[in-house]
Symmetry: C2
Subunit: 197 residues, 2 copies
DNA sequence: GTCTATAATTTGATAGAC
DNA sequence: GTCTATCAAATTATAGAC
């Protein structure tokens, strides 16, 4: 457990938050195994021992980054029942996270490293997927966009949408061209079978 | 450049091949940054200095693993024009690579670590995506499965299929349940818009 | 909260004997 | 081809001063 964020300061720009910002951007670029306390510290203008003050172990920092990422993402999505065009809204939200400076969805990075992750961190990545699948299921069913009424099909479609976006990010990264993501996302949005069947 | 495989022995079970096997399984589980020469050596029953004999630098080993992986995968796919149901065949080939012991598609792992990779290794991951997209394009067009005749749409669909599978693997891994991959893949295969439009 | 200092381990890599 | 020995650097983490 982190000693941070419990009895610290009041608002949004504490040192712990700055550390989280930096760590998040590093993990989303290079993976959990691709960032170090020293690099985070260096960018935050402090020493690595000070990072340990806020987050005792690396896994604590990893968990905190992932939790905050997921919460912020779900917050941005809002009420799944409220969106008139949930698929487009979801794609837009996902796309907004691809900053062009090499950052990809945290859940995608962690999923690829899954077996090399501390269990608590892997659990956070799982939580992201579960919440996103649930949001999509709810949104699709509320809008009657499912290609059937069966629950199994609903969940399958939700997972398919999530998979396309995570995968498109990976493929676009490999090809070194972010516009590939937009191309694929457009293909998803246009897919007829998600509108009627 | 590796000193290996050039003037070595004749056939398939040289020590270099054994090293490649071990390294591949480690990378596909834990990523490029998640394996070490020492771990490879330990599993091969030799010392890390001996691994360096076969592959001077870590990037050499990474490149060799990725090249072999891609070549083997494309080989298994065969002629794109020959398959009567290329989508099903492709999904099956992709699925065959998911061994259940935590190994995922090498290209997916590398894509997630992309910015933390030596350039030569990243280039191999790119090659995998390009060859796979080209195979799918060719197969779809040969079978008239594209939802239009335009080349742009063809490529888009090829990239979409690749993305779904890479993403499904990531999502399934995060959820800790490989059957999720099969569910999503089934959703892809059933998708009407890939059959007609 | 941040620092210095340091421990303990791991890592990629090389030199040179056999 | 494989070994021992070793290096230089990086890593996670802790102790204790300020």
């Amino acid at each position: 457990m982190a000693a941070s964020k419990a009895g610290t300061s009041k608002a949004g720009t504490s040192k712990a938050d700055e550390i989280l910002d930096i760590a998040e951007s590093l993990v989303r670029r290079n993976g959990y195994n691709g960032f170090s306390f020293r690099e985070v510290a260096s960018r935050a203008g402090i020493k690595s021992a000070s990072v340990h003050y806020h987050f005792p172990a690396k896994s604590d920092l990893g968990v905190a980054v992932a939790r905050r990422y997921t919460d912020r993402f779900m917050d941005g999505l809002g009420d799944p029942q409220a969106s008139p065009d949930p698929l487009t809204a979801y794609v837009a939200a996902f796309r907004a996270g691809l900053t062009g400076d090499g950052q990809m969805c945290l859940c995608g990075v962690l999923g690829a490293e899954s077996t090399a992750l501390p269990a608590e961190v892997a659990a956070e990545a799982k939580r992201f997927c579960e919440l996103n699948a649930a949001w999509l299921e709810c949104a699709l069913s509320a809008r009657g966009l499912a290609s059937g009424a069966q629950d199994a099909s609903l969940r399958r479609q939700a997972l398919l949408i999530l998979s396309v976006l995570e995968g498109a990010m990976i493929v676009a990264r490999n090809l070194g061209d972010l516009t590939v993501f937009d191309e694929i996302a457009a293909g998803l949005t246009e897919a007829r079978y998600l509108r009627r069947a």
